[in-house]
Symmetry: C2
Subunit: 246 residues, 2 copies
Amino acid sequence: MTYCVGMLVDAGLVFLSDSRTNAGVDQISTFRKTAVFGRDGERVLVLMSAGNLAITQAALSMLREAVAASDSRVSLATVPNLFEAARHVGETLREIRRRDAEALQAFGVEFNAALILGGQIRGEPPRLFNIYAAGNFIEATPETSYFQIGESKYGKPIIDRVLQRTTTLEEAAKCALISMDSTLRSNLSVGLPLDLTVVHTDAYKLGEQRHIDGNDGYFAMIQSRWGGALRATFDELPNPSPLGEG
Amino acid sequence: MTYCVGMLVDAGLVFLSDSRTNAGVDQISTFRKTAVFGRDGERVLVLMSAGNLAITQAALSMLREAVAASDSRVSLATVPNLFEAARHVGETLREIRRRDAEALQAFGVEFNAALILGGQIRGEPPRLFNIYAAGNFIEATPETSYFQIGESKYGKPIIDRVLQRTTTLEEAAKCALISMDSTLRSNLSVGLPLDLTVVHTDAYKLGEQRHIDGNDGYFAMIQSRWGGALRATFDELPNPSPLGEG
């Protein structure tokens, strides 16, 4: 299983993904689920993926192939804006589906993929999209400024309570890491290492990147202190007394 | 959608259910999802249900019919222990499935039901079961002392962090209510009113019951203070600085 979250705030974008892919109980592998495309000074795009690894890896390979091609085909390096980038990613998923879906179905494998695409192309503000397996997509709005894919529910409440457009990138990263910590605790199939990727508004290049494994002091602090602080907060609230009708 | 949680601690059992059943966007109804069976001084059983309302209501009707019948059939009033009670509930689901599944399938409706059964029958300690649509079931153990059915993931992290067998009934009820608050905030299809039901170990009768609607002062306090306290806790933890590799 996977958990990825992408957040859009005034100051930019924060992406966090875990790296665990499991193909059965005793076969747990780690793969990076965050990919970056761009040209410094002009565009930066970050893509995170969840779902069937064969599908999402094929999508990534095809997107990279299009970027590397010297002909005039559409690619993440040439699309004029993020909306067209999301369409291109969606079309890529549809192409894989046309090719693979029948064979997958024969083995009872669902065509399962979800992507988060965000970034900024010169001429427009930063944008964030959630792309479905069907190739259609939705865009983050001021009301919903984040997307999650994969095992998303455990880590949703803390984001709903904290994240706003005015949240700083540091706070958004902290929120994403706490959200991931909650997910890690409640679902063993999501695991370290993590990839944190930051994009600053109007920088048109990749911001900070952080590969978080068991040796990352900051995440270890989040893991030890958030649980304890939550417990202390819990203890501070009065018990329902009497338990029956108040 | 529904969210129900049942908790087993040394001091007894806590059950919490929401009451919303929705059959489409503009048709939201409320039904009680908690049912109580028992005979004071001898047994008390609490049953919560999630899933297709036609199925869970049929199950409840059949369970009540068996209790009311004057013949010697198996019922929740006569089973010698909680394990047999869970088997009886599972068999009831299987009977409904034999009768209805084909017709439901013709309309593309999945046979979807989940139940939590807990309580105590004289001669054994309190026990808690999670019964699946297939009629099979699992029992709470010292390692997993709670079950959730329905929209369960949003409210799981706080339980994982707080609940232990030594938790008091008051604390367990507070934990259940905070878990429900997180679910309510993240999923609009789970809603008030709530039903809180408590069973004390070795009481062999129903403990406190509390019907929680918009006027319940304690739950309003939880709703207003937990979010704020969580936000304060969030603010207290340092930000990741620098954002990149530490």
